[in-house]
Subunit: 308 residues, 2 copies
């Protein structure tokens, strides 16, 4: 067992950021990321990488951050409220990709580690990935969840983290999930640092492989203006979630962090037509019927306990 | 002094809705409002009127509602927290107009009355109007505030309600106001029902006159694609306010009310480019420099106490 180290996690996140940026540029074929770096006086650093108006991707934000703080924000942990206000270090990578082609889904990855200097050193990881398609390809969603299950290493863990994801990425005012889910975990530190970090690495690698595979499958497909409009309307739901519901965005907006970084996740173009649902949703009902919690994409929920 | 009556207020709001709808259709020249009506079993009624894809207005929502409830939501009043959960009746009109032409400002009106059956009957009004321009015409803003002052009947009241408006329509994460303000009041019941209702009527009439005047001044102007893009980006700020900050929208989203009505205020098309500020804000700096609290459009703040 190695020592708990935020440095090795930081290094992995920076390297993963580089590879995700490289992969997206390669998939895009034309667009390039704007590469910025912002240092804090206390040793923190933020490295946003944002691509806009690519050939395949209309907007993609791949952001790394390392921060050093005097007082852990209470939003950082649910399980350890007593750690709020302790000195901490944190590192995170977040990815949001908004494709131009409605056949290619939007996706999101977040991985983060907190190290808190309380009476003893406390650390935990959080993160996950999820997928938001506009046009339904069931085999892509099954593949996405199959990859998530493989990353989890056991059906029991997959079922738990998939359920977390369904719970979190949900718009109560629409009674629908943001997309078709994936996995989501928080305050994660079971079985020691090595095991947890290994899992976080696998989640990052799996995300990159799974999303790239789906993009390769769909990027060559053409689309209609009706499908594009549908995507732009669905992106409105994405913005509703990020602005009105997402804890991370809320915290970022209140924390005084650089607002262009916090809101880089917002879709580049959005439509909010009145009663769009009545007008075209019926044509996309095969997708919307899947925007619900608790869909068992892999047919394993019933026997997950036995298999774990 | 007449009796306190929500019925006369309701009647005025319905009539005002009709006239606003008629005026906007006339100004537009082409677009027509969709006229819907939804009854509640308990006697409530909602009448959304939404125009989409007009010639001059891209989206306009003029909504009337009358509701009867067992428990007053705590969001309804700040001054009377002890009234929360009492039986109540409420009526409201709300207006949001999103023009297609960036020379014409977006505007918003809200007027509402609550009648609460506590140990004694308690009533109060709330509401106001505000303006969100995309291209600066200082004389329009001065005119808007001059009209607001006239509606208030005294400089003291105008200064107070204008300050309320600056405070409320503010995006802390952007450190800017939503627009150039107007007036805003809440929990309003000083000097008896007659006086308050008279003020509310004047506010409604003033709004209609002031906005119509500004539209007549600007609707014939042409615009560039750069100005249109700027408007679509500024509309993103509008959506940020409505989704992340506005108490009314938040309450509507949590209350289970018909979501298409609650979110009819959202702009029809929005852009969230990365670092748009860096790219074009400089060209519109004469406007953005006015998106701050405390701008004294009428040059009266210093001597408002004497004049009141």
């Amino acid at each position: 067992m190695t020592e708990v180290s935020i440095e090795v996690v930081k290094k992995f996140f920076i390297d993963l950021q580089d590879r995700i940026v490289g992969t997206i540029e390669e998939l895009d074929g034309g667009g390039k990321f704007l590469k910025e770096s912002f240092d804090s006086p206390n040793g923190g650093v933020a490295q946003p990488r944002v691509l806009t108006n690519g050939d395949l991707f209309e907007k993609a934000a791949v952001q790394f951050s390392y921060s050093v703080g005097d007082r852990l924000p209470s939003a950082a942990t649910e399980r350890y409220p007593n750690l709020a206000n302790c000195p901490f270090r944190a590192t995170a990578i977040s990815v949001i990709v908004h494709p131009r082609n409605p056949n290619v889904p939007t996706t999101h990855l977040n991985l983060r580690m907190f190290l808190v200097e309380a009476q003893e050193l406390v650390w935990f990881f959080g993160g996950g990935f999820d997928l938001t398609p506009y046009i339904l390809f069931e085999e892509d969603i099954s593949f996405w969840h199959e990859q998530a299950r493989a990353a989890c290493g056991s059906d029991a863990r997959y079922v738990e983290l998939k359920e977390n994801c369904d719970q979190y990425f949900y718009l109560p005012h629409r009674d629908e999930t943001r997309g078709v889910g994936g996995i989501f975990f928080d305050d994660f530190n079971t079985n020691g640092f090595d095991d947890c970090f290994k899992f976080v690495k696998i989640v990052g690698e799996t995300f990159l492989h799974a999303y790239t595979t789906i993009v390769h499958r769909r990027a060559h497909l053409s689309w209609t203006s009706e499908e594009e409009e549908w995507m732009l309307m669905r992106r409105g739901r994405y913005a509703e979630f990020n602005l009105a519901i997402d804890r991370g965005t809320k915290y970022g907006m209140q924390s005084g962090r650089r607002i262009e970084s916090v809101l880089a996740s917002l879709p580049p173009r959005v439509l909010w037509p009145y009663q769009h649902d009545l007008l075209v949703s019926a044509k996309f009902a095969n997708l919307t019927s899947k925007l619900q919690r608790g869909i068992d994409w892999l047919g394993i929920v019933d026997n997950s306990v036995d298999k774990s």
